[in-house]
């Protein structure tokens, strides 16, 4: 790996990992906003209006950083990966352009109304703007994940030209869009986003409940977000297993890396945790023998092709990394299910908001979906190596020829510096907004302006 490749890969991984903090948050938060403002329109209860306004301010902060860092990604395809851009422009470019026209334009235009339109448009039109912004971000993710999924499981194309002149041409647009992994990966990513957003609401609300501030607001928001989170974490189990099936079928090398499975052909074990020694081709840890075979083929003895059945130059190199990120993702997923179901049970018993230790757990729980989304993404992307387009184009062939290593190094240092600063500022301002809390119209905060039991859909 030469320096330009190494540096470009680090830069891309770093900028996308940083970017990927924000869009999931705004997608999930967008859905929570739709519920909050919808309840306001339905019940005319001030609490929901104040909640909506409060969360819109946090949404704006997250959205702003998401857009700024997203533009970087779009340009990096051309600046650092010019050969890749040429190779997949026909396909990846179309999806990216469609994202701009059909999704990003929608979000950005109506964001202005969401933020500044309170006194300029009627509550109904404002609600419509909220819905459109949320929809825009959901469509946005759709096109981006479609583009990425095509890289994982290419279809609906043919290759034209030879050698460095080769490029992929769309032959069937809808086969390209609905390539074998699009739906599974999109639903998995989208639900990951719902988890990220709803757990932010849960965390902030739990903190208010612990601090005995804005209790009525916090409990209302907690209920909304808890339902979103509980349904999402259960659904994630399903989409996750669907995604694993797709990987098994189309990316055997990635699957083998995910479970540290080396033998050419043998039943695959499923590890709960473990460590891969790639040199000695040994995986040790706590495992369910034949578990992987059972998951994939519903038969504990069914053979699974291991890494040794794949040519060495086509195997991912960072096997232990893929193994660890994959298992961390699963552990987090299971934890979220347990946590949300337990919280629902406590809500049913009427003890949820009095259980202080549980509220404390929820304050920190915001990190779990974030880490889950990150490691999930690493599993998908590092597991795909050495291919940038699976089986078609190697990452090392995707580089820009005109770019020098020292220029990439300079930009990488610049981005590191700026993103670290940006993250610090983000946390500082987020904290400040949380400390400030919602603007409450009257001071009868603790009196029961709202009787929670009046809200049939939110109550058990």
């Amino acid at each position: 790996m030469d320096n330009v490749e190494l540096l470009s890969r680090i830069q891309f991984a770093f900028t996308i990992a940083f970017h990927y903090i924000y869009p999931p948050l705004s997608i999930g938060l967008g859905v929570c906003l739709v519920v909050m403002e919808g309840l306001y329109l339905k019940t005319k209860d001030k609490i929901y209006e104040e909640l909506t306004r409060f969360w819109v301010r946090i949404f704006a902060l997250i959205f702003g950083i998401g857009v700024a860092t997203g533009i970087v990604m779009e340009f990096e395809f051309g600046t650092n990966w010019a050969a890749y851009s040429r190779y997949v422009g026909d396909i990846f470019g179309s999806a990216l352009a469609a994202e701009g026209i059909f999704a990003f334009a929608l979000e950005s235009a109506f964001l202005g109304i969401l933020l500044f339109g309170w006194n300029r448009v009627s509550p109904r039109v404002h609600f419509m703007a909220t819905v459109l912004v949320a929809l825009g971000s959901i469509f946005s993710a759709l096109w981006i994940v479609v583009a990425n999924s095509w890289q994982q499981t290419p279809s609906g194309y043919r290759i034209e030209g030879k050698g460095m002149q080769a490029r992929a041409i769309v032959t069937d647009f809808w086969a390209m869009v609905f390539n074998p992994s699009s739906i599974e990966r999109y639903s998995h990513v989208l639900i990951g986003a719902l988890l990220a957003g709803s757990f932010l609401v849960l965390s902030v609300s739990a903190w208010y409940i612990l601090k005995k501030k804005y209790i009525v607001h916090a409990e209302a928001a907690f209920r909304i977000a808890l339902w979103v989170a509980a349904i999402s974490s259960l659904a994630q189990l399903f989409t996750g297993s669907k995604s694993a099936e797709v990987v098994t079928k189309y990316q055997p090398a990635k699957l083998a890396a995910m479970e540290g499975h080396f033998e050419k052909s043998a039943p695959g074990d499923m590890y709960l945790m473990g460590w891969v020694n790639a040199k000695e081709q040994k995986t040790t840890g706590l495992k369910i023998p034949g578990g992987l075979s059972f998951l994939v083929h519903h038969d504990v003895n069914a053979p699974i092709p291991g890494l040794n059945s794949i040519k060495p130059e086509n195997r991912p190199t960072a096997i232990n990394f893929v193994f660890q990120t994959y298992h961390l993702m699963i552990t987090i997923g299971m934890t979220l299910i347990a946590l949300t179901l337990f919280a629902l049970f406590m809500l049913y018993r009427g003890k949820l908001f009095q259980t202080r230790w549980l509220m404390g757990v929820f304050v920190f729980s915001v990190l779990l979906p974030q880490v889950g989304n990150q490691v999930g993404w690493y599993t998908a992307e590092v597991g795909r190596q050495p291919w940038v387009v699976y089986g078609l184009l190697r990452t090392s062939d995707a580089l820009s020829q005109a770019v020098k290593a020292e220029h990439v190094l300079a930009s990488l240092i610049m981005f590191t510096f700026i993103y670290v600063m940006l993250f610090g500022l983000f946390l500082y301002l987020l904290n400040k907004k949380i400390q400030h809390g919602p603007d409450v119209a009257s001071d009868d905060e603790t009196s029961s302006r709202m009787n929670p039991s009046m809200l049939p859909i939110l109550n058990e």
Binding site: A68, G78, A82, F92, A97, G100, L111, H407, S411
Partner: protein, 344 residues
């Protein structure tokens, strides 16, 4: 070759991307210009009004950049990769400026401290200026052509981009945006800030006309290939005349204090200048100044007909939608800026 309404698909995309870039120049042009003027407003109140004049719309304006770049990627991937990788460092700087500009607008109002406001005001003004200059610098080099060998490989050096002609274009773009921004702000402000802006509009428009004349002369003398098309089709010279008349009309509108008309004129000027550039370029997208074989034409760079056709359908559906959102957004926030609780 596949055609739609008698025009081949790569030409359609050449026109569409030209329209998107013009749209970006007109829309983000005024908010970049407003940003570049920001430090001329001394009072806190004035700065807040100026910021809120673009507050609800700048994000929507930037969408045109995202769509324009995405379309270039999709329709002419070879050109997308070539331009972005050749201008690697200028584009990286551009991205940094885009980040800083976005967060300056977003972060400024979040603290009450004076130094905090000052910090983000400077960051907002500098990043807006840098974006305008870099766009001009890249444009200036694309007008002259860049050193690409017969295999379309870049054989130049970074410092060659900082040549006098490109710098002149950079300054011209900045002056155009500042004038354009001043006229936009005049439509959104009242009283003292309005009075101050009348002076700024007057000065920036004079400065722009100076740059415009210098650019025209320099292009005629040093970049003959841009004007070659006028020799082949003398009737197109009318467009050049139209540009001069429109530019003069900007001055006239400013003197008569008809700023809405002036704003429309500077919008048309932006589009016309880009049209003149596109005419000099067509059917190429990137010119090589060392080997004509190195130039990249739309036919060489184009994606497959199937892909171009599908995307043309998307554009036919999507662009009216985008235009509708844009109009709805501007209509919602029509009239003079009034500071309120949700303002920056």
């Amino acid at each position: 070759m596949d055609t739609v309404l008698g025009i081949d698909l790569p030409t359609w995309w050449f026109l569409l991307i030209g329209a998107l870039i013009s749209g970006y120049g007109i829309l983000d042009g005024f908010d970049l210009g407003a940003g570049a003027l920001h430090l001329f407003f001394r009072k806190e109140q004035s700065r807040r009004i100026a910021l809120n004049a673009i507050g609800p719309v700048w994000d929507g304006n930037e969408v045109w950049l995202v769509i324009g770049a995405g379309s270039l990627f999709a329709a002419f991937p070879l050109v997308y990769g070539t331009i972005l990788s050749v201008f690697y460092l200028p584009f990286m700087l551009f991205l940094v400026a885009i980040i800083f500009r976005g967060i300056s607008i977003e972060f400024r109002s979040k603290e009450k401290m004076k130094w905090w406001h000052q910090l983000w005001d400077v960051s907002y003004c500098v990043s807006s200026t840098v974006i305008s200059l870099l766009l001009g610098l890249i444009l200036g080099n694309l007008i002259q052509g860049i050193p690409l060998n017969a295999n379309h490989e870049f054989v130049g050096r970074l410092r060659d981009f900082f040549n006098p002609y490109a710098i002149l274009i950079a300054v011209t773009v900045l002056s155009l945006f500042m004038m354009h921004g001043a006229m936009y702000l005049l439509m959104k402000t009242e009283d003292r800030l309005y009075a101050k802006l009348t002076i700024i509009a007057n000065n920036t428009s004079k400065f722009f006309i100076l740059c415009f004349m210098a650019t025209s002369m320099a292009t005629l003398i040093y970049v003959p290939h841009m004007t070659a098309i006028f020799k082949a089709y003398p009737e197109l010279f009318a467009l050049g005349i139209a540009a001069v008349l429109i530019v003069l009309n900007i001055r006239r509108s400013i003197e008569k204090r008809q700023y809405r008309r002036g704003f429309i004129s500077s919008s048309v000027t932006t589009a016309l200048l880009l049209i003149l550039f596109a005419m000099g370029l067509y059917p190429n997208l990137v010119l090589s100044n060392i080997d004509p074989k190195g130039s990249i034409s739309i036919y060489e760079a184009a994606s497959s007909d199937g892909s171009l056709r599908t995307m043309l359908l998307f554009a036919a559906i999507g662009m009216p939608l985008v235009a509708t959102y844009t109009v709805f957004m501007f209509w919602t926030f029509r009239g003079k800026v009034k500071l309120e609780e949700h303002s920056y």
